[in-house]
Every structure is written in C-alpha cells, then in structure tokens.
C-alpha cells in the first residue's frame, strides 16, 4: 500500500518537474497579437482569405504579410478593432461579394429528361447521361453546393439551389463545388441579376425551360452597357451601375429578377 502511494507520487513529482522545466526552457514566444486578431476574425476557417484557417490568416496579418481586409465576412467594426490592435491606420473593407446561383429553372419551370434515382449528388447525377435536367446548363438540384457551404447559406427551393445573401460568407466553396459551374460571385450591393447560364440558342432554351435567357438582346439596349452578350447569353457587368427598374418586366425569358 505505502509502496504504491510512494511510487505513484514519485512518478507525479518527476513528471511535474520535467513539465515545469520544459515550460521554462522550451517555450515558444508567440506574439499575443495573433491571439487577439484570431478572436476578432469570424472563426469559420472557410479559407476565403487564401490561408489555411483564421489562425493562419491572423499570423499573416500580424507579420504584415497580408492586409487585414481579406476576410470577406469580417464586419467593419471588427476590422476597425483589428486595425486598432495592430496600431495601423483604419483600412477600408473590401466590397462584399456574395454567391449567386445563376439558374431559376426549378421543377415547375424547367423540364427533366428522365427520372434519376441515384445518389443525391450533382456531380454523380451529371455523370449519368449528362444529368436529368433537360437544360445542360441548369441547376441539377442535388445539393452539392449546399453540403459544401460552411455557413448554411444555401437552401434548395423546389429543386434549385438558392443562396441567402445575408448568410453568405463569400468563401467560394459552392463556386468550386458546382459541377455545372453556374454559381458566380456578385457584389452584395447589386440587386438586379440575370438568372440563367444557358449558352444554348434561344429555341433550345425555350423548349426546355420557361425562365431561360433566349438571347433576344432587349436587356442589353435597356441596360446601357451594364449587360453584355456572351454568345447567346446575356451577362451582367457588375462594374457598371444597373438601375433600370423596367428590366425584369421587359425580359421575355423572365430570367431577370430584382432580389
């Protein structure tokens, strides 16, 4: 009994001394600023800043390797606090961008070619005969982007993905995940968008979808340079102001919406 107590206590003592010595002589100095900045960042570890996580980005900020406004989800207040903590002049927040699914061809508007009953994954569905959606540019609706989103900002509405802009943290994971490549980053300040990605000619689009761009070019005239044509698809140029209120009503393809 007494031996056991002594042995265990002895082990405890030896280890304690070793740890104390280790803490004294092997410790690594870390700039306390890194901790402060990490606290102020969102903590989503989404990677949108280009670093492995919030910790890595904080390290880079403190080391002066990166400006503190690379985090797309950082609020202006947090940014101001970070600038204050670093002792630098307050830096302007970069314009916020949000993801946008450029398709509104849901189960009612767009046709399907066949019944798909495989696994719920857009890439897997696209590998089966090119996907069940009749439009080869349309949202397949099997939620690959939804599962990639770390912020829970994507919802499937009637078989089409929709991003809630207020929840989007601009990490671009959905952009990379979409096998159709129809998710685009747009300025959060813009509200008028063209919800179609089809590069098929108008006649083909009409056949398969009720809300597709038919390439009629009416919007390009109304938008005065803010909408350009990419082949048969109208594309919004977000660098130009687009404030024509008539656009949604004038689009015969019903794919221009103000949201």
């Amino acid at each position: 009994m007494i031996t056991s107590i002594l042995v265990v206590s002895g082990i405890g003592l030896v280890c304690g001394v070793a740890l104390a010595l280790g803490a004294r002589y092997l410790s690594v100095e870390e700039n306390p600023l890194i901790g402060t900045v990490t606290e102020l960042l969102l903590g989503a570890n989404c990677g949108a800043c280009g670093y492995a996580g919030c910790g890595g980005y904080a390290q880079a900020i403190v080391a002066g390797e990166a400006p503190p406004n690379r985090c797309p989800s950082c609020t202006p207040e947090a940014l101001a606090q970070i600038s204050a903590a670093l002792g630098i002049a307050p830096i302007e927040a970069a314009a916020r961008e949000v993801a946008l699914v450029l398709c509104r061809g849901d189960d009612e508007q767009a046709q399907k070619r066949f019944v798909y009953d495989g696994i719920t994954d857009c890439a897997a569905a696209a590998a089966v005969g090119g996907g069940d959606k009749a439009c080869r540019y349309g949202c397949l609706g099997y939620g690959t982007c939804l599962r990639a989103c770390p912020a829970g900002a994507i919802e499937m509405v009637n078989g089409v993905a929709r991003v809630h802009p207020e929840l989007c943290i601009s990490c671009r994971k959905c952009v990379a995940a979409c096998p159709r490549g129809i998710i685009r980053m747009v300025p959060a300040a813009s509200h008028t968008h063209i919800f179609c990605s089809s590069r098929d000619p108008g006649a083909t689009v009409r056949k398969v979808c009720k809300v597709g761009c038919i390439g009629c070019r009416i919007c390009t005239r109304l938008a005065e340079g803010a909408i350009t044509m990419d082949g048969t698809l109208a594309v919004v140029d977000y660098k130009q102001p687009l404030d024509n209120e008539e656009l949604p009503a004038k689009c015969p393809g019903k794919c221009i919406l103000k949201v």
Partner: protein, 452 residues
Amino acid sequence: MKVSPAPFLFRGGIHPPDSKTATAALPLKDLPLPARLEVSTSQHLGAPAAPCVAVGDRVTAGQLIAKASGFISANVHAPAAGTIAAIREAPTPTGRTATAIIIETDADAPAGEPPYKPIPDWREQEPRSLLDRVAEAGIVGMGGAGFPTHVKLSPPGDKPIDTVILNGAECEPFLNSDNRLLIERAAQVLEGCQIIRHILGAATLCVAIEDNKREAAAALFAAMKATPGDNQIHILKTRYPQGSEKQQIYSVTGRTVPMGGLPMDVGCVVENVATAYAVWDAVVNGRPLTARAITVTGDAVNTPTNWFAPVGTSFADLVAASGGARDNLAKLIAGGPMMGFALPSLEVAMSKTSSGLLLFPRECVRPYRSMACINCGRCVEACPLGLMPNELSQAAEADDIDEAENRHVMDCFECGACAYVCPARRPLVQHMRRAKAVITQRRRAAAQQKKT
C-alpha cells in the same frame, strides 16, 4: 488440344438469372443500312480521334474519317459510303458527349475494294506489320471498356506474354452477341486469336467459356480441331463476373493480377470474342472495324433480335428494326444490365463497344428507396476483388475520399455484384464511381501542377 473445366474459381461473385433464352437461338441478322449514321470520335478509352473529313465530303465504305490522336486512341472509319452531313457534338452511350461525324448513307454505292490490303498469309508476316494493321483498323476492346487493342498487344519488352485468353464468358445477363458470334463464326474468331497469338509470340491459347453456352462450346471444339499449336478450352462455372479480365485469368491460370496491375504483369492478354473477330476481319479481309454484333432484347421490345449492325446506327433505328418498342417501355440500357449505362433517350448512336441494348418495361424498374447500410456484409462476400464496398460507400457518402482511396476504391471495376446483393438497396457502384472520379480528377490536377 485440351478441353477441361477451368481449374480455379475466383472469390465472391453472384448468380443473377441469365435471361438469355429470348435471343440465344436467334442467328445474327445484318441490319439494313440506316439512312443516317452518327459515328462518334470517342468510342474508345483515351483521346478522341481527330476528324479528317469535312462537311460535304463524299466517303467510301471503310474510309478513315477520324485519325487516332495519340498512342492511346483509335482510328474511326466510315461504316458505309455516303456524304458527311455534319460534324457536331453528340451524346455517347456512356453518358458523355463527344464530337460525332454524321453520314447520310448512300445505299446504291457499289461495295468496292476493302480499304486495306488483305493479308491471308499472316503466318508468314512480321508481328510488327500485323500490329500496325490492328492499329490502322481502329480495333478496340469490344467487351465494353474500349481499350485500344494495338496498345494491349504491344506490351513492354520486360513483360513477355505466354498465354492469350479468348474471353467467351459473356457473363452479363441478357446478352448473346458474343455467344452468337462464336456459334456462327467460331473459325474466324479462332483465327483472330491465332493472329493475336502470333503478334504477341505467346505459346498458349486458352478459350474460356461459361458452361451455359453448350452450342458455342461445341462450335469452338469443332473449329479448334483444325487449329495448330497449344490450344485449350476451359469451361468456366457460370458465375458473374467470370468475364472480367482479372477474374478470368485467375479461373483459367490461377495467376493473380497484382493490385493496380495489368494482365501483362502475369503474362496474360485477354481478348473479347468480338475483338478477335474484328482482328480476323482486319487482317484477313483488310476491313476496318465498322460493324459489330449487338443484342436488342428485354420485355419492352417487340421482336428481340441479334443484329450485326454498323457502328453509328442510332438506337432508335435498331429498335425500329426490332419491331419497335412497347408502350410500357420505362428503361433503356446500353450494354448489359450489370455494367451497362442507362440511356436518357433512344437518340444515341451505338459504338464499337455496344454489345447490347436492353429495353425494360415499367414493371421491371419499380422505383426504390435506398436505406442506410445495415452492416450485413453481403457485399463483402460478393466482391470478386475482396474489397469492402460497405466501408467504401460510406466513406464516399461522407465525402471522405481519402479514406476510400486508402481502402483501394481505385481497384473497383464497377461490376455491380455488391449493389446486386445489397438488401438495403444502396447504390454502391455509384458511390464508388463518384469516389473514383474525384480521385482521378485530383491525380490529374496534381500531375498538371507538377508539370508547371
């Protein structure tokens, strides 16, 4: 010559009902020339062929219309004389899209000379010249994968081949195209095998055939009497997937192809019946690969038929020639039911690898719900490779692709035995396919990065 039951039997496998009776006794029929052929430039594994004709050109039967673009690629020839109507993107039976050359055929065109010089005295020829013929004739593995045959027949010098195996298993249910080819043209198929043996310098020719194909075995036996050299017939136990290369090598020779390896690593080359026939046709008759046997069957087609049809025939034309589809048609499959591809419509053209077209009625394709894995282990028992489909599919489902890769998902050849036995009806093969596609993509990206 030696006839014997195959001495070994691979692990796992399944026994689906073979459903071959509807077409087993029907002789191959030549399909009347369709008015339009849609010849894809991607009927093989590897780089698509590059079209070498222009819209409006007149072509003769057997003329080269798309050139192989690289070593792993294959030539494509015009199946019939006619005019090039268009060159455009078209769906392939495997579910992708590729450039296709559309030919408006000319039924009155004279047959003409074969495009290549026949080599009836191939026994006296250098293997090299015969190999070139196989390459120029655009021959690919016609069992389904479409691997260019000239690549398979040029193993590196440190991998000598001693055994050529003719794969006559046709273990996929419903299909009879290989079976009929063997019954009706056994001598030609065997001569094709001899040519392959000559090219490879192999000593032994093994013909592997399942024990449910008595008639084909008898035809082979009769034809083989006249064949010189070390020839063997191995009767395989009927079990799916006996027709898979690695499983068949084990059944016939007892050799195990190493993980991630190729048959040539164990001194074997396995060739499909239709491929051997195409090799014979290319060498002895000088004709490129432009037509093949295809079984059109299933409960939703009026007259199930074994056709000998030109490549590029649209499935719609094939079905129309087979008496049309019934109203209750609900599912189309190009190839066999186990490894074939579901088709979105009949507006797809058959390729060099299309061994069958299956039309199933609504009763056969009840929708199902797949459930969570119940860990019963039947898929593990069924997997002919000894993989664990349960673990693999769960890893893929959880997006843990690294775990799937560590557990050798890349070795899976998608035979579907696991999904066939799964009581929870899990789409196991689709999970593997997805995992494999992601891994292939990653490896390609990594290779690209290394290059730049």
